[in-house]
Amino acid sequence: MTGGGVSDNDMPNFSWLAGRDASGIQDADLSAMLAGGTPPADASAPLQHVADVLAALRAAPAGDEAAGQGTALALFREQVGVSSQPIRSRRRRPTLLSSLLSAKAAAAVAVAVVGLGGVATAAFANALPSAAQQFAHDTIGAPSPHASNGAHAQSNANAGHSGTPVGPNASGSAAFGLCTAYTHAKHHGSAAQKAVAFRNLENAAGGAANVAAFCAAVAHPGSPATPGTGAASSHPSGPPSPHPSGPPSPHPSGPPSPHPTGP
């Protein structure tokens, strides 16, 4: 610590110090500047330079100093957002929200599972009205309404219109539908439903022995266009697929599906 200023030997190098010693800096001036004041009008050059440094330190926020504002604001909204409410209810809000969300999600999954189960069974039994059957055919790969290979084909208004047996497209959502229908029919369906569901599945899988492996490899469709499978996964254990037809499932290629009614 030199305490004072530059030594006399240094002085000649700096014309702006001529005639003044750096000790000309007064404590009172320093105190004023620290408190936010400006140096006196007749301030020595060193004092003026110090003032310049302090002014730079006090300059308005700039450049990267504003980085992270979004994060801070998000945090603020989370913590203080509705601060007219008592703190207690602010604390409770996330819990309430998350429980609402999980209840809603659970309900959606339940609806999807129940809905798909029933519809799929009916669809694979080919027992839906024509339009619905066509829809089921398009979305979950149930037999086309024009097919008559089901045990309940006679209940279909269009039964017999096309005599060609129809097996669903064996990939993607169709495969998922087959597996779901089979699983459902196995547990809840009639013998006839079981037979139909399994036969379709067997065709798709390329043989009875391949059914288990086939269904294990099937991707779960999550098409928003599919009723009951909407945003929530139509299957509680599977992630929703962004596309209804998903990636082709890696099963042994079965026999090509006869598909007289087009896609």
């Binding site: 936010g36 730079a56 801070a72």
Partner: protein, 176 residues
């Protein structure tokens, strides 16, 4: 401004945050140059959480902000001391370009950076008390409390620091 922010006014909070964050970074870039951004972000998490329950005026709030930042800095230094190899590898690479590369920063920011660099050459206590007075806008007593020294010691350290700064500038022939 503080009261409005506590009532949920986002514009008021944004103003407080921007001023406070700039001040925090200027302070931290001198006392913890390798981790300034991290500590500032950490500090905000703590301070924003406590904002609804904070009682006091804006000066008290600023003191709280810097007290928090200072504690985090001490904690960070302790953690680093425990695993120095991680500190060198992780932080220096990301921090160095920010502090050394002045080519693409705005002109007014450049002089702030230059000022920070000048402060960083001072003895640590002198630099810190000057920053707390000037950048945080705290009075001598508040700074004394914050750094755990007497007000007299703070005043002396600040004045010595400024005189030394004048010396350094004179020796370097710096024209700001």
């Amino acid at each position: 401004m503080l009261a409005a922010a506590q009532d949920g006014d986002e514009a008021a909070f944004t103003r407080l945050w921007l001023d406070g964050n700039a001040a925090l970074l200027r302070y931290l870039r001198v006392i913890a140059p390798e981790a300034a951004e991290d500590i500032a972000a950490d500090t905000w998490v703590h301070v924003v959480r406590g904002l609804p329950r904070f009682r006091g005026d804006e000066t008290a709030w600023r003191a709280w902000l810097f007290t928090t930042a200072r504690r985090r800095t001490v904690d960070q230094a302790r953690r680093r001391a425990r695993r120095p190899e991680a500190a060198i590898g992780e932080v220096n690479e990301s921090e160095l370009p920010a502090s050394d590369d002045t080519a693409d920063v705005a002109l007014e920011h450049l002089s702030t950076r230059a000022a920070i660099a000048l402060l960083a050459d001072l003895p640590p206590l002198q630099a810190e008390v000057i920053l707390l007075r000037v950048v945080a806008g705290l009075g001598t007593d508040a700074v004394a409390k914050l750094v755990g020294r007497s007000p007299g010691a703070v005043r002396v350290a600040a004045h010595r620091g400024l005189r030394r700064l004048a010396d350094d500038l004179a020796k370097a022939g710096v024209t700001l």
